[in-house]
Symmetry: C2
Subunit: 599 residues, 2 copies
């Protein structure tokens, strides 16, 4: 069975040393986040997922979910018990507001738990993960009555939630939605329609499920400006929050998927189900984006999470499996063969992975900190800066993060050779589970367009200029350390390519909209490479300083410096070719007819 | 169900216009290959796989193979009947020697059928595919008696063959083999041991299976210099080629795999099975490499094949699925949404795929031609040149070709969005099936080391210098066509990076063996990019010329020129960053201890 140990040492390094979370303790919501507290939460969270959640990953994949003849859905063996322990320990409440029974800790800490859960068992993690999006939407756009009625039990995890957007003919283009919402005399709406691909759509983990459903009211405009968001509980909720009648929503089928078999991906049928409008009619898209943005960061974390889980298993195999000899002569002559860890190409894949994981963890937790600072920083300027940066980089964390998560899982499977292709060893599950993260919550091409078509242009390009200013300042800081100097130099160069690509878009955006679309993906990847580089510059600085200290943990910090150098020597050069891909424009991409493609 | 139509138009273009196969008609084995004949074979082959083989792909994946209580193995529904029709039509005999009942056509034509079969149904294609390797080994190294006894029925396809190399503890490092071969009084050997991952190890497609098995004779050296190759038939063969007793070889289990479910991947138990030595004792590795090299080209073709099959389905979906609007305004205002083919990022993925497929098909068929010329060219110099080029590029065709095959299948699945993740739509099967090609017949990292550690250095680097000479000459040819000029210029630049990387290896090979290993993969990818570019330069020249002709098929040739330009603008720039990755050397790759990786 695959191994997994939550990477608590590295998390604590990022939280305490790279982000230095304690320096924000003067801000509301950060007061309680002392180093002692966060360290112990991180270690406890690690222990919980190691012992309770990770052991169900492979078996959950093999068993999958079941829809029974009566339409009820059960999750794989052990999920229900594990989820009960999750609620009991209050793991879902870490970063939730205290007013609804949450612990009010920074999102940074909530993200740590999201990562660990997704690493240990992505299919399981999605049950509470989807609820987070629903909680965000109700928190931001729900009425006080709705918040009081639903949030306490959703925050505690006693009830879970879902996001119902997709229909058979309608995915990215939500303007096409056909699900109808007919206003009723009592102020509710009757919801009728079919939703597909509904993750955690039904299950046996908890007593109620709060569906958030996009639908159209009569006469609504025929575009995304005509969609509204509704709360549709599986069981109606009485005024005292006890459960009432079963609502008219049912599971038509569970999809057979490439992966995340332990999560019930449902076809949901709404047959005049009772729903309540969130916010105003026709303003559903804004509320949906609140759900979606939280979910997108969560999906980016899934990329990191599958990379981490597969990496651990690849390292374990590379140390144990013996095959061939080191190129420089037998490393262990008394054995018949050396561990495959001696082979440079095996190490290349492991170093690529370790570099990505370490940088991506820093990026995700830094992103979580920006989410906190968006609401809680001391000045309006700081709040705006945080919001600019996280808005800009959310599609990068989602898109680049999940691309690299899949690539890493594939590389780690490769280290296992033929044994990686055998289902029982679990390496292919990491690949299959990682694959969905590139697709859902906005396919990565949609992320690229969100970055280039929306985020770049907002407020005259303020966010990207802000990012450049941060990078330029950090590259310009003096350092005596050779690795820090190298990383700063290469990051400066890579950022130069990103600036050039940005300028190119500005010059061509008006004249050729398709050039924006044709270069968007390369631009997103380029921004991802640069973002990782910024993280490695910070990590290198912290590590160089720590090595000049009391001599503790030297091997850890030296490994960090080597990973930073690995980024500089092997990833930073990609920036040039990605820039040239942007500058290639749309001609070859837009030139063929449908017939020529099909010929 | 997924669609598939063998791409006969493009195959004929490569065979007739790019390779111009008819110009070799003065050579033995090419006489019969008139354009009329090859065209009709190509079209017939396409019809056969479209009608007989492709319809079994998805169902074969869903059903898989079954090992029964008596140890017998059955293939998915329809495979047996399809294979019977395959033999009946003589499809396996195209490029086989006439002396054994083959049609003696060039390998180019045999490769066409291999590609079509693998596109239509990779799991099915592997049954005859594996036999090809066994046939090659017996043809080259078997005794005249062995050839007479086994080859006629293997060539006709009445018997199939397997390659038994891997054991539980022993994959790449064949020196570790434990399977024993004890000499018997009658000149045979008793083979005892367990082999794993044996593709097509047992099945119900034909009456006998000829296993080629690597084993060690008593007292053999403890390395790959101590392995011997044996013929071990499932049923012993009488002198008159009728079948005798069942041999002591049995299937212990069928593996559960990520993909290629329709192929029975078996654990094979040899319990004193009767086997006959091929060639000499302890010379098994050389015979094995004959099987392996043929198989490696075949696996490279699988990369092309899965790219083609997934591409066809992505184009079909992109034309049919409506979502969103063109960036330049509604393309079909009367509809509620435009086909997703209007979106530049969808087209980017399709163009990357079309470029790879068109270039890779030319590269594979050009490779097949070199295999033919190695044996049949008029002069020793031409034979040697062909051998140099195909030896050099075999690991590139296998390694880069399958990497790109997987990437393409993943991109094509991406175009399907969430529907691509649903098993019934078949897009995930292309990804799962394509994945194995990066692993088997030597994992792609092993290919990279074969290229850099062996092929580069052979004969003082003669092969790579030969490749450079070919490219330089073809880039230097004058052309009036702008695309041809652009492609030549960019190919020249990319080749400059490859030359620099080659020089870097020459300068560092002695001092730092690990630097060779650390850069090998990037070097293989770089060679792949350049090889595709060479093909696109040729294709562009042919197409520019055809467009100056009678005006027939203009859309086809214009699409070719645009694909060539796509390579020049969007793939050629990768050469720079790949070269820098080579030049990064081994420091960051070799620097960490096992403990640091695990921390």
């Amino acid at each position: 069975m695959p191994v997994f140990q939550a990477p608590t040492r590295d998390t604590r390094f990022v939280v305490n040393e790279v982000l230095d979370l304690e320096r924000y303790r003067h801000l509301p919501g950060f007061e309680a986040a002392t180093r002692d507290l966060t360290d112990s939460v991180i270690e406890e969270a690690g222990r919980f997922v190691n012992e309770v959640v990770a052991p169900l990953n492979l078996s959950g994949d093999q068993e999958g979910c079941t829809r029974h003849a009566d339409g009820s859905v059960t999750t794989p063996k052990g999920f229900k018990e594990a989820y009960a322990r999750y609620i009991e320990a209050g793991w879902g409440t870490l970063a939730a507001p205290e007013i609804y029974g949450g612990q009010g800790l920074p999102h940074v800490i909530g993200f740590v738990m999201e990562e660990y859960l997704a690493s240990a068992n992505q299919a399981f993690a999605m049950y509470p993960g989807l609820a987070n999006g629903a909680i965000s939407a109700i928190s931001s756009k729900g009425s006080p009555e709705q918040q009081a009625m639903y949030l306490p039990k959703m925050v505690s995890g006693e009830w879970l939630g879902t996001m119902n957007l997709t229909e058979p003919h309608c995915g990215t283009d939500l303007g096409l939605i056909r699900t109808r919402a007919e206003p009723q005399m009592d102020g509710s709406y009757a919801i009728t329609g079919t939703k597909i691909f509904i993750s955690a759509g039904d299950h046996d983990l908890c007593e109620n499920i709060i569906h958030l459903v996009l639908a159209k009211t009569p006469g609504a405009p025929e575009s995304s400006k005509g969609i509204s968001l509704f709360i549709v509980p599986k069981f109606l909720v009485n005024a005292d929050r006890t459960l009432g009648d079963r609502n008219a929503v049912s599971v038509g089928a569970i999809e057979h998927k490439m992966g995340i078999h332990g999560n019930a991906t449902c076809v949901m049928n709404y047959d005049g189900a009772k729903g309540w409008l969130i916010g105003e009619e026709n303003k559903g898209l804004a509320a949906m984006f609140i759900m979606m943005n939280a979910a997108r960061l969560g999906v980016g974390i899934q990329g990191l999470a599958q990379a981490e889980a597969s990496y651990q298993n690849a390292v374990a195999y590379a140390v144990e499996r013996r095959q061939g000899r080191a190129l420089t002569g037998p490393a262990e002559p008394e054995q018949k063969a050396d561990p495959i860890l001696v082979h440079p190409d095996v190490r290349r894949m492991l170093m690529d992975a370790k570099m990505f994981i370490g940088g991506m963890r820093a990026l995700c937790l830094w992103g979580a900190l920006q989410v906190d600072l968006t609401h809680k920083a001391a000045t309006e300027e700081e709040r705006q800066q945080a919001d600019d940066l996280i808005s800009l980089l959310t599609p990068v964390i989602k898109g680049y993060g999940t691309d690299m998560g899949y690539r890493t899982a594939t590389d780690m499977q490769q280290i296992w050779g033929g044994h990686g292709y055998i289902a029982e060893n679990g390496m292919d599950q990491f690949v299959r589970d990682a694959r969905i993260a590139m697709i859902y919550e906005g396919a990565n091409g949609v992320q690229a367009m969100d970055l280039v078509g929306r985020k770049l242009a907002l407020n005259g390009g303020r966010a990207i200029q802000r990012l450049f200013a941060v990078i330029d300042a950090e590259c310009a800081e003096e350092s005596a350390d050779d690795t820090v100097k190298l990383v700063a130099e290469r990051l400066g160069k890579a950022t130069g390519h990103l600036k050039a690509a940005t300028l190119w878009f500005m010059q061509h955006a008006m004249a050729d909209r398709n050039a924006i679309g044709a270069g968007a993906y390369a631009y997103m990847t380029l921004t991802g490479v640069v973002s990782l580089g910024l993280m490695w510059l910070r990590i290198a600085k912290v590590s160089a300083k720590a090595l000049g200290g009391d001599g503790a943990d030297e091997a850890f910090y030296e490994a960090k410096l080597l990973c930073a150098k690995h980024w500089a020597l092997r990833f930073a050069p990609q920036a040039g070719s990605l820039r040239y891909e942007v500058e290639a424009g749309a001609e070859t991409v837009m030139g063929l007819t449908a017939e020529q493609f099909a010929a």
